[in-house]
Symmetry: C2
Subunit: 403 residues, 2 copies
């Protein structure tokens, strides 16, 4: 603490929780006129009116009281139906627990799986909030960098991941399609991960929130990215905790609505952790989420189509620049180019604010393996992305800082 | 776990988080036609339209994106102005951190103050969510029962509380006016508590959420209950963490909006804990909270007047029954009678569902000292409360269970 205020001792675990490395660049670029913000995982589209109107209607109807800690039954049923439509089967509504975004879903999954001091194995580069939540819990992130090939892209070495498991390991965090790399687990990868988890009796915390943003022709038969659901055995149903969010598919980032999926027997524990953490979610927001699931399919398809076009624009516009390696990502909605002309990604991200008026996230924010890379969100209008390419290209292609 | 699903090992801290003792009675009485629910701390009034409309307006205006982890500046300023109006002075907006209800404010305060294994001293009977949050954090509640006198009511023995402090103690949790007892700290009590905290370098986590529901003529000069703010020294400004909520004053229980107040230097830590826990609060809800603070004073006054009348109805209607001791509570909005005819409060609460069709909370849910008591919320219409008295009186006055 740099504080001058006199305070009693602060829990060192809380004191050690660090801000994300993306925040520094955002703070640096905040307020710049005309800056194109590609630094966070958020589109440029406000939540459509049909969802907002559902919330307003529920408000007028007086849905403003305390509610069930696990979510209103109508929403749990609608989520189960949605997951059934997308992945097949008829999952029980009792498997779904409504949370304050995917972030609280992850926090609760972690609290179930690990005690302070326990280890969590996590492939990197990855969304830094995982590290943050693990640190805030007093647990330890054990990172396993995934491989990068400028031609073929990112790949997970499952044996290397297995070698990182120790007697203190309690969970694997598997984000596929991954933020920021777009790495997408194949069905074989997922089977191998389940085998490791079974062998060591580990939880799998599965973040498949970008599952519908899948661009690899290898998975075209599914119409989405492969999921643990495609390959699991009945005994695995109690081992995989899925974290999910309304943020991306339904353009609801700011709403803070998501869900945790796991065995119904966890309901008692999740209810307790929610009660003593945040005490549930406004019912009028949950009614809007029901509407999003029931009526939002055209919206989701439009979001996916926009991202597909955004991916094309960034990959074609930046991937051919000298010194830039950008194999098209298999999934999610980020370009994650390696930029040889400036290996200090943090410095480059700050430069791009000044020299291109474009906001990007430095790869260093995403853990080991992210050095020398940048993350650019392409869930955005084609016009913005074309302009961003136009501004970025000269800076990325020229070595070093301007005088 | 009674689960039959095969699951990896569960963190015993999470597994040990128990539901509140109020929930059992609610589950028992759920769905009974005509039941008058006095079991939770919630009025019967939905959030007024002027607040809901502000949220709907902000939704239409597209306030649906990610936002600042500490709250939008407009709300932090409005909270600071409100606190200044109520308590005097001009507190800095940087002292106020917007949270998912008072519950997340408490959870964050606790994470700042204590590590797993640390001790938190807390007078009882008290709101059970404090115990739950302390247990979920892996810390230990050290309870100090406050004294009850059937004539004069509840009083805190500050020396007894001081004797409960050990080298592992990190914080005192002081809820005044208290749920469920209505106990309200005098200015002398508050000075004595600050002295203890200074002596042992402890945090004080102050829950003054019922501060405006103050009925003791001794505090009529303040127009509210005494606050740590009335008696603290400048050096204490870094020691007291206030948890607050929009739930009670503004009839917004289900919204999950509150705030934590503490030294600005904690902002970095709070931002991290929010980012990695829930990632902020919907901005359209925060805009509604701004409206609640700006335009809600008549609402708050109506809520207080209703509670004052509710207190009169319950205390006059139940306090004179044979075997019932109910000195009028000094603050908050609960009657907490001691019922001699049935010392098993849990059993009595279940009986009252069957025999009176009234939902009450058993005193046992509130920790040591609550045995033999019941909690009834009087933030409700006079008609409902009169009917509740009419139904409760014959059961409370008759010894033992009916056959």
């Amino acid at each position: 603490m740099t504080a001058t205020t006199t305070m009693p001792p602060i829990n060192p675990v809380a004191d050690g929780v660090l801000p994300s490395g993306i925040g520094e660049v955002i703070a640096y670029g905040a307020g710049r006129t005309g800056l194109i913000p590609l630094w966070v995982g958020e589109g440029d589209r406000p939540t459509p009116d049909f969802i907002g109107e559902a919330a307003a209607r529920a408000l007028r109807d007086g849905h403003t009281f305390y509610t069930d800690m696990l979510g209103i039954p109508a929403l749990r049923q609608e989520i189960a139906a949605y997951v059934g439509r997308l992945y097949g089967g008829s999952p029980e509504p009792d498997r779904f627990f409504v949370t304050v975004g995917g972030m609280q879903a992850f926090q609760i999954a972690l609290a179930i799986a690990a005690q302070p001091g326990d280890e969590i194995v996590i492939p990197t580069p990855i969304w830094p909030n995982f590290f943050g939540a693990i640190a805030a819990h007093g647990a330890k992130s054990v990172t396993v960098p995934i491989g990068f090939d400028p031609a073929s892209g990112w790949s997970l070495d499952v044996e290397r991941l297995a070698a990182a498991v120790t007697p203190r390991t309690r969970a694997l965090v598997i984000n596929s399609p991954a933020n920021p790399t777009g790495w997408t687990a194949s069905r074989d990868d997922l089977r191998a991960l389940l085998t490791i988890a079974r062998r060591h009796d580990l939880w799998i915390i599965a973040d498949e929130i970008y599952g519908r943003f899948s661009f690899d022709p290898a998975h075209a038969d599914l119409g989405r990215a492969p999921s643990f659901r495609d390959v699991w055995e009945p005994d695995d149903h109690g081992r995989v905790l899925f974290v999910q969010t309304f943020s991306k598919n339904w353009a609801m980032t700011g709403w803070r609505l998501g869900w945790l999926e796991g065995p119904p027997a966890l309901g008692r524990i999740v209810a307790g952790l929610v009660l003593y953490g945040t005490s549930g979610i406004a019912t009028f927001l949950q009614h809007a989420a029901v509407t999003a699931l029931r009526e939002g399919e055209p919206l989701v398809r439009a979001q996916i189509a926009q991202a597909r076009e955004g991916r094309r624009i960034l990959c074609e516009g930046l991937g051919r620049l000298p010194g830039v390696a950008l194999p098209p990502p298999a999934g999610a909605f980020y370009a994650f180019p390696q930029v040889a002309t400036e290996p200090d990604a943090r410095r480059l991200a700050l430069r791009l604010v000044d020299e291109a008026n474009v906001g990007v996230a430095p790869g260093t924010a995403f853990g080991p393996g992210g050095e020398g890379f940048l993350r650019l969100c392409f869930a955005r209008s084609a016009a913005d992305l074309q302009e961003a390419v136009h501004r970025l290209a000269p800076v990325l292609a020229s070595p070093g800082a301007r005088p």
